[in-house]
Assembly symmetry: C2
Homo-oligomer: 325 residues x 2
């Protein structure tokens, strides 16, 4: 059957989705009087990290941003970040992790000044994300920054019209059931929270079991709550889902195709292919990788940070002759 | 709970949805050199039928169509239709049913010339609808006409983004599960078929039981097939559905709110309210009535019929000096 069946499934590449976001970033950039400057800090011997750093640099420059890469030893990272925090010519900082590959990396993440944190890893940003607080200030002028990979997935879901813009902003996933296979602190758990905060019923799956993230019945709660689904596995929740998002590291894991609801939307954010080619026999839409969207989101975050600086109360004051508001 | 719960549900009125369709009709109309002429035939003492005839006439005239109403006795309807078929100044014919309120009404429906049948009740149109044949001709110049009420529901689902225009035309409901409560030959069954032909999994419910309409696994079939769901009731299928569409006549029937999936989209095409006000506690979108859309669809069908006449091979030939194609 699989060999000859006509393929109804639409495969959509990240590059296609990235284009619209790039146009949005370029438009925002055209309204600034100087190029935002991104500083990369690399303290990692892994050639793959070097490649990723080069790739960020190239994309940044191609899109009209300034980019500098500092290569330093592990023990100099902390001081390099502190210096960059104080360097007024630097608008955003990206540190290429892992460095120590332990909790010291999380310590370093909190060293980056929140006003230069393009990766959205500062505790305040993470707290706002989980709490469904979308602005940094009471006047809603400065948007909180979201971590790049989860936000990339959200932008992909918007592109695919899984977000229904007939519904009010903040509730546009109401009625959608979504499975996220991966519950890492870096991507899977924040992603599940973001989707539930937007109104979805999310099943978050990892080796320890299944958790359900929702805003409660009729999405009446302001932010998501988490319920442990005792005894459930991916077998129980995946067949209920309109969208299945996978992010399992390594090339061993393959999502069992038979668990997909007919016409499900499948998105893989792992660097390995978590779906087999047969996914196309059941899915309506398949997005095999998301990297190209993630990197544009990084630049979008940098732009946001520069815009936030302009919208900050002190900046607004500075624009006024008497400093009054 | 129900009294004080904040309402997340968005109620959308048919008048709002009709506006966009009206604009589309007006645009098509502006490209014609004369006003299309709709003839109404009324042979019904019921004051409600007179009101409906008046309402059609007003909407037609307000939107730039010509409208004439002929009031005749039951036994003159057949001859009146035949005369209208031959009257070149008449572009479309609408007969206000019921007249005999038995199979003779179906006989009369087949008397209307297919080229003037704005209600889409001619056997050829009905056959094309069930067979998922979208054009009258091999060159795909003349679109087949769909019955007004089922098409109105489809246009509402497009407006609500239940049709996903990221997917190819003809497959835009792939992944959607829809419940239609009513399986009349006039609306419920054609609607279930149309939705399944567009890729949905449809549960068609009436007092006799539940039928499932789909294009098979992976929507590989060209048109829908029907499977009897033995032992199933609305209790089994409604909780699986993203969209619930009701059309039960009379004021006794109320759809049981507890069967709705959280965030379902609810549409009622009955002249009575089939949902209780509590629907808003669970639904994401609620469309309480569709009449205003249906009447614009009638005008859209009239426009289509006039466009079909212009696109007919004979008309194309007539435009060419040598009658060659």
């Amino acid at each position: 059957m699989s060999a000859n069946a006509p393929q109804i499934c639409k495969t959509i590449l990240a590059g296609t989705i990235a284009k619209g976001l790039q146009a949005e970033v370029n438009d925002g950039l055209s309204k600034l009087d100087k190029k935002p400057h991104l500083l990369g800090i690399l303290a990692n011997d892994d050639p793959a990290a070097q490649v990723y750093a080069d790739w960020t640099g190239k994309t940044a420059k191609d899109n009209g941003f300034e980019y500098t890469l500092k290569t330093v030893g592990k023990d100099d990272v902390e001081e390099t970040i502190i210096a960059a925090n104080h360097e007024s010519s630097v608008d955003g900082i990206i540190v290429y992790y892992p460095i120590f590959n332990n909790r010291q990396d999380q310590y370093l993440q909190q060293i980056v000044d929140i006003s230069k944190d393009v990766e959205g890893l500062s505790h305040q940003y993470i707290f706002n994300m989980y709490q469904n607080i979308r602005f940094l200030d009471d006047h809603q002028m400065q948007k909180s920054i979201l971590p790049c990979t989860p936000l990339a997935v959200i932008k992909i879901l918007e592109y695919l019209h899984i977000y229904n813009n007939i519904l009010p902003y903040g509730n546009r996933l109401f009625g959608r059931t979504i499975c996220v296979v991966n519950r890492s602190e870096v991507v899977g758990r924040p992603l599940a929270a973001l989707l539930a905060n937007d109104g979805a019923c999310v099943y978050s799956v990892d080796v320890t079991g299944v958790q359900q993230f929702t805003r409660g019945e009729g999405i009446r709660k302001r932010k998501h709550e988490v319920v442990e689904k005792d005894g459930w596995s991916v077998e129980d929740c995946a067949p209920l889902c309109d969208v299945v998002i996978t992010g399992v590291p390594g090339d061993k894991y393959k999502f069992p195709n038979r668990l997909l609801k007919d016409g499900a939307v499948c998105i893989n954010f792992s660097s390995e292919k978590n779906f087999t080619p047969e996914v196309k026999e059941r899915a309506s839409i398949y997005v095999p990788a998301i990297g190209k969207v993630t990197i544009v989101i990084l630049l979008r975050n940098l732009l946001r940070i520069v815009q936030n600086k302009r919208n900050a109360p002190s900046a607004l004051h500075a624009d006024l002759p008497n400093g009054s508001s």
